[in-house]
């Protein structure tokens, strides 16, 4: 592989900086590319770029490593594919995962295409995940070894064609080790904190983002309990997620939670904590990492959020090409719009959008 041309997706953060360093160390011909994404309001001061600091940091790292570095503008496509979709899904009462779409369509869409067009062989990113090729040349996607950092969940939209063109050098590292390498190289970003929020929503959080960009205005509506009585008023569906306790008023005898959103009637349903338990869900369409549908005769683990623990499940075919995922033990935080990612041990088998969730009977 030595001498092969690769593009490293650089963000100015510590992970992608060390990724670039490791690739240089291993003798690849490395080029750094930073995607200029859409970042909301600050775009209006046109020539200014919203994250000049991040660009500067990435440029500095490229300078230390002696590799070329470019910023590529994907603002419009990012806005259309990721941001607009986020807004649209939120308006439908869903809880989307924009990173999933960004990886599928921007990083491994626009950027991978660009990488190959520019004459490079691989796209390299600083995700904590592992790709393994077996003897039949099937590429397997596995969890990174650092359980706190594993990012295989948001990569579950990748397919064989994408994986065979991808390298994840950090899959076998722990975050602390990555910071040590960054220190050794003298990267000023070595101790930069991990990014937490969605990159485009800004510092006021996603609710204020949605209230600013949502095309349909917030509509107040009823809060109902499970017996159908109106018990309060909500400020707009996007302000609530299932499982939420805050913002639904007080004066209830026992703690109550948002347990459902009735999009059609613009209502929020509340109930006790027990009512948050879900016994199954439907999800789909699925991206199968191997390219073909796996056996449903075995037990899988599922992650229904990026940060949730894997749960034991069985699978059944459902209607409309969906798959019903049945939990061995009921779970709390299942939300339509998130991605259900199936694992067998550390290996990602596939991911699909959560369609509907079902309460214990």
């Amino acid at each position: 592989m030595t001498g092969k041309k690769v593009v490293v997706a650089m963000s100015g953060g510590v992970d992608s900086s060390v990724t670039a360093a490791l690739m240089v160390q291993q003798g690849f011909d490395v080029t750094g590319i930073m995607l200029k994404l859409w970042t909301g309001d600050c775009e209006s001061n046109d020539n200014a770029c919203c994250t000049p600091e991040a660009i500067q940091q990435a440029r500095q790292v490229a300078g230390i490593l002696g590799i070329p570095f470019y910023v590529v503008d994907v603002k419009n496509r990012f806005k259309k594919i990721v941001v607009d979709k986020f807004i649209e899904m939120s308006e439908q009462g869903l809880t989307p995962n924009p990173c999933f779409y960004c990886n599928q369509h921007i990083r491994w869409g626009v950027l991978l295409d660009k990488t190959l067009q520019l004459g490079a062989d691989y796209l390299v990113t600083g995700h904590y995940a592992i790709i393994e090729e077996d003897q039949e040349h099937i590429f397997h996607l596995k969890k990174g070894i650092d359980p706190k950092k594993d990012q295989s969940y948001v990569l579950s939209g990748l397919d064989q064609e994408k994986l065979q063109r991808t390298i994840f050098p950090l899959g076998n590292y722990k975050k602390e080790g990555v910071r040590v390498i960054a220190e050794e190289y003298g990267f000023t970003v070595a101790q930069k904190p991990d990014s937490q929020d969605l990159c485009f929503v800004g510092s006021n959080g996603y609710r204020s983002f949605l209230s600013q960009y949502s095309t349909s205005p917030l509509m107040k509506g009823n809060i109902r309990n499970l017996s159908g009585s109106i018990v309060g008023e909500h400020s707009g569906l996007v302000n609530y997620t299932i499982g939420q306790r805050k913002g639904i008023g007080s004066g209830f005898q026992s703690p109550v939670y948002v347990i459902d959103k009735d999009i059609k009637n613009n209502e929020i349903i509340i109930g006790s904590k027990e009512m948050l338990k879900f016994s199954s869900l439907t999800a789909g369409p699925f991206n199968w990492i191997s390219g073909s549908k796996p056996s449903f005769q075995v037990e899988y683990d599922v992650k229904i959020r990026y940060k949730s623990n894997p749960k034991k499940v069985n699978l059944l075919e459902d209607k409309d090409g969906l798959i019903r995922i049945i939990f061995n033990d009921p779970v709390r935080d299942a939300t339509p719009g998130q991605v259900a990612v199936l694992y067998i041990q550390d290996e990602v088998i596939g991911g699909g959008l959560i369609h509907e969730v079902f309460r214990e009977k």
């Binding site: 041309k5 011909d29 080029t31 590319i33 930073m34 200029k36 046109d46 020539n47 770029c49 000049p52 660009i55 070329p68 470019y70 910023v71 590529v72 503008d73 295409d113 660009k114 067009q117 520019l118 004459g119 490079a120």
Partner: protein, 381 residues
């Protein structure tokens, strides 16, 4: 990977002999030209020699010059120096072409913004040549016209001698940005009688960070950097003696080898233009086919983004540039190309290839060999 540099219009490497000539002024002859003593006098005479040498090369009889930090500062000084409110022969109207470098364009616009001057725009033809009739019609006696001698993006060389005559007939002043021109043309102020002229050394293999504004002695030029009265009060600040000596040395070398180098450059340029136009469908030359810098080939390609083309070529080992590329990833069409009437989407596909004295034929050969494929790949993406 061997890298080939084809971006001499951006900047050029120095000749080691020029560096040699600069070195003593960092260490032994380090004096401050303003000091009264021996060390100061040595440094002062080096600056003085450089000034005279440059004026002699330019065959100027009634001009002087101010050393500056480069082309940009020279352009700023020219426009601001004759328009400051305290200037006794203050000029209140500036005529600029739509293909000026930002050092002129933005300076003029700033002066208009703060109410110092009124700006009017000249018209150019599809090649970037100033329309002389239009200039004539727009001139008045109290005007400064500023016209780029040779444009950096499209290489077009304006007939500055003729433009100076037209200006003078109306009693107007002419400044020309000769930053690109000075790298390739033997400037002769006897024939091309401009009132002010800007140059920057790094375009002709001199050091970066030094240039000068040549100005007719009768012009009332107010300093923009005020300080210790250096440069006859026209530019405060201790002279950067080594850089000034370097600029002189580089310019002398450029004049000495001019003919042979320009022959070499023209051959390479014409080969680049001919092959690209022939081998790459949807390509066209920007700028004038004849009146253009000897080292300058510039194009637009249909269906290609200049920014991506530059990146792809760099990854293949060839350093070129594009008027629409941007380091922070906000590509936008070049104002210069739009002024020539090139449509916006086509203007996004600009490529500039500029060769220099060190460029070898086989480097150009290998560039021309890879380019069609790269353009093709980008088009199919």
């Amino acid at each position: 990977m061997d890298r080939v540099y084809l971006d001499y219009a951006a900047t050029s490497p120095m000749d080691p002999r020029t560096v040699e000539r600069m070195l003593p002024f960092f260490t032994q002859q380090f004096g401050n030209p303003s000091s009264l003593h021996y060390f100061g006098q040595q440094a002062d005479s080096a600056v003085d020699l450089a000034r005279n040498a440059i004026l002699r090369l330019f065959k100027s009889l009634d001009h002087d010059l101010v050393f500056t930090s480069g082309g940009t500062e020279s352009d700023n000084l020219a426009l601001k120096g004759v328009t400051t409110p305290i200037n006794q022969s203050r000029i209140k109207r500036i005529l600029i072409s739509p293909i000026e470098h930002p050092a002129v364009d933005k300076t003029a616009k700033r002066l208009e913004q703060d109410g110092t001057v009124q700006i009017d725009l000249l018209r150019v033809d599809n090649y970037g040549l100033i329309l002389h009739n239009d200039l004539q019609n727009k001139l008045t006696g109290t005007t400064l016209a500023s016209v780029v001698w040779a444009n950096n993006e499209i290489g077009t060389i304006n007939d500055i001698g003729k433009i100076a005559q037209i200006c003078h007939k109306s009693g107007a002043l002419l400044h020309t940005d000769a930053v690109q021109a000075a790298a390739h043309l033997n400037i002769n102020l006897n024939e091309t009688d401009v009132d002010m002229l800007s140059i920057g050394a790094h375009k002709f293999s001199g050091p970066k960070g030094v240039g000068c504004l040549v100005f007719r002695k009768t012009i009332n030029l107010d300093s923009q950097i005020v300080g210790g009265g250096q440069e006859s009060g026209k530019r405060g600040g201790t002279h950067n003696v080594p850089l000034i000596v370097g600029m002189q040395a580089a310019l002398e070398m450029a004049y000495k080898d001019r003919e042979s180098i320009n022959l070499h450059l023209t051959n390479l340029r014409d080969q680049i233009i001919a092959e690209i136009l022939k081998n790459i469908p949807g390509s066209s030359l920007t700028g004038h086919p004849v009146y253009r810098l000897p080292n300058h080939a510039s194009f637009v390609f249909e269906g290609v983004k200049g920014q991506e083309l530059v990146i792809a070529l760099d990854m293949a080992g060839f350093s070129v540039s594009s008027g629409s590329a941007c380091k922070v990833g906000n590509p936008s069409p070049s104002q210069v190309l739009l002024a020539l009437g090139i449509p916006e989407n086509l203007a996004m596909g600009a490529l500039r290839v500029t060769v220099g004295r060190n460029t070898k034929e086989d480097e150009v050969r290998s560039f021309l060999d890879v380019l069609p494929n790269i353009v093709n790949n980008l088009r199919n993406g």
